[in-house]
Symmetry: C2
Subunit: 392 residues, 2 copies
Amino acid sequence: MVIADFQVARTPKIYFGAGKFRELPNIVTLMGQNVLLVTGTNSLQTFGKLATLIQAFREMQLEYVSCSVSGEPTPEFIDDTVATYKTRQIDVVVAIGGGSVIDAGKAISAMLTADDSVVNYLEGVSVKNHDGLKVPFIAVPTTAGTGSEATKNAVLSRIGSDGFKSSLRHENFVPNIALVDPELALTCPPAITAACGMDALVQLLEAYVSTQASPFTDALAWSGIEHLQQSLIPVCTTRSQQIEARTDMAYAALMSGIVLSNAGLGIVHGLAGPIGGLFHIPHGVVCGTLIGAATKVNIDYLKKEGIDHIALKKYAAIGRLISGEEGTDIEAGCQLLLTKLESWIDKLQLPRLSVFGIRRSDVSEIVKRSAIKNNPARPAITDINQILLERL
Amino acid sequence: MVIADFQVARTPKIYFGAGKFRELPNIVTLMGQNVLLVTGTNSLQTFGKLATLIQAFREMQLEYVSCSVSGEPTPEFIDDTVATYKTRQIDVVVAIGGGSVIDAGKAISAMLTADDSVVNYLEGVSVKNHDGLKVPFIAVPTTAGTGSEATKNAVLSRIGSDGFKSSLRHENFVPNIALVDPELALTCPPAITAACGMDALVQLLEAYVSTQASPFTDALAWSGIEHLQQSLIPVCTTRSQQIEARTDMAYAALMSGIVLSNAGLGIVHGLAGPIGGLFHIPHGVVCGTLIGAATKVNIDYLKKEGIDHIALKKYAAIGRLISGEEGTDIEAGCQLLLTKLESWIDKLQLPRLSVFGIRRSDVSEIVKRSAIKNNPARPAITDINQILLERL
C-alpha cells in the first residue's frame, strides 16, 4: 500500500487524564491575565467545579469575564459576545462545555481580532477568508463526542427554512490547548452520552474510510475505535460512573476530532449538515441514527467496484475489531460491522428522524442540500433518499 | 487496559509526499520576507534542487541568507551563526538536510531571540530555562532517520573527554512546519540510509515500550513500524531508487519524531548519548548496532516480572508484525522480534563499536554516564555493560 500525499494540521497541546481540570488555572496563567470564560448551561456549576475554578482565578489574581451559551451557537451570539468584550484586551479564551460551547469559544477567540460579523466568514454562507489571527484558545470538553477540542472549525447554526449549519474554519483555529478530563463527563446523562458517543464513532469511522485518509489518520482513527468499542455501551448503561469507561470515550472523541480535521468525513455528515439546519435535532442523534443505513449503502456501492476495494477492507477490519471475531473474509467482516452498528443503534435506543418532525416529504429537500464530502462511494440520489427513509 | 494520564505537544503542520519540495517557496512566503536557509554539505546542490529553490526565492523577491553545517552542530556554530544574522530581522528559518542540519536550524531559530550562548540552555550542561520564544522554523529532512522535523529538541555536540551530546529543548521548538518529501532521500547512499533507518526503528520501538507511552503514541509508533518493516531492507538494497520505499521510510521517521517527543526513549538512547559525546560515531549506527542486545536484556528482565507484562506483550506484537507470523504466544513473539532485529543488523552490516575505536576499557565510563530514560526494564550495571560488550 503506497502512502499518498497528505497534510496534517498542528494538533493542540493535549493534557489528558482524570483530574486534569485542576491544572487549568496554572495553564491559563501561563497565557495571560485577562480571561474570557465561555460555559454552557451545564452541570459543572452544580458540582462546584466552576466555583472552584473561579476561586483559583481570583487567588491567582487573574481578571476574568464570562458568558454562557445555551443550545447551538448562532452568529448573533458570537457577534454580541465579541462586541461586549472586544475592548477588554482578552489574553485567552477558555471554553468549558459540550461541542456547542467549545465551538462558541473557538468562534469568539477568532472574531475578537476581526471588525465585522462572523457571518461574513461562514463557509457556503459568505465568501470572506479569515486571516487566522485569533486570541489563544483553551478547549475543555465536558462531553465525549464532537472532538471540537481538536478541530479547526466552529459550527454555527441558524434554524429554519433559510437555516444553515455552517463552519468558521482555519487551521489556526485548532485550539492551542485541549484539556481533556474524563471526570467532567461523569454526570452526563445516558441519552446525551449515547448521542455524543455515536457522533465520535461516526467521525472516526467516516474519517477512517475517507478518500482523504492517511496512515497518520488511520492509526489514530483505529486507536479511537479500539477504545470506543469497548466502552460505548457500558458507558451508557452499567458503567456510566466508571472513570475507565469515561476515559475511553474521552480519548475516542479527541481522536475523532484529530482525524476528521485531517481526513474529512462522509455521507452521514453530509446529511447531518442540512438536517441540523432545517430541524431541531441533536447532531449526535442524526449521525447515530443514520450510520447503519449509510454504511450499508456505502458497502453495497463499493462491492460493485470489487471486493478488494481499500474502503471495504477497512470496513471489514473495523467489523472484526468491534465484534472481536478474527480471520473472517472481507464480505463477512463488512457484515460483522453492519450487524454491530445495528445492535448499537438498537441498544442505545437512538430515536428515528420522525421523532423530530422530519417527514417523508422533507427527504428530497434534505438530500438536495446534502454533500457527499469525502465519502468512499458515490451513491445515486435515490439511494441517499433511502438512507433517510429507512430511519424516518 | 486503562488509559493513563498523558500529554502531547503540538505536532508540526505536516506537508508529506513526493514532490512537496516544490511547494516550499510558496509556504515560506506566507511566513515572511527574510529567510535564513540552513543546509548541510549535502547532495541537494548537486541535483540542482537548491539552485531551483533559490531561483524561486529570487522570483518571489524573498531576501535570503544561508549557512552550511558540516557534521554534528556544536554550540560554537550556533552562537556564531546567530551573531552573524541577529541584526537581519529573520522572519523564518528553513533547514534542509539530515538530522544535524535540522537540529542546527532548530537551535538557531531558538537562539535568534536570546542574547547569550546556547550553552547556557543545554540540558545537563547548564541550568537556564529558555522561554520558548523563537523565529518560525520549517524543517525539510533529506534523510529518513532522526525525526527531528517533529521533535522539540535540538542535539548539540562537543566531542572529547569533556565532550557531550546535549539537548536544547522546549515544546515550542517543535518545528512550525515539517515538509517531508521522500524524493529528497533518493540519492542517500546505502550505509547512511541503513543507519538513519535503524535510528527511526529504535526510536519507534523504544517509544512504543516506553513507560511514558500513551494510546496516541502507541498508534503512531505501530503505524511507523508497519511501514518501516516492509521497506527497511529493500530501501538499503534493491529498492533504493523506488519512491514507495523511500516514502515508507520518510513516514516512519516522521512518526518516530512525534512518538519520541511524547513518549520518550529507552536504554539504547540512554547509551547513545555518552557514546556520541565521547567518540566520533554516527548516531544511527550506535542505535542500530545496540538494539538487538539491548532488547534481549530488556526482555529477560521483564520476564522476571511476569510474562504478561505490558511491555512484553508489546514486544511480542511487534515481533509478530515484523515477522509476518500470526498467533504466536508472548514468549514466541518476543523471540520473533529478537530474531528479526538480529537479521536486520546482519543484513545491513551495521558496524561494531570497536570499528570506531571503542575498547573494552571504555565500557564502564560509557555506562557510568548513561541514562535509563523511560526504559521498561531496570537492568543492573553489569547487564548494561554486557549490551556494549556484545557489540564491541
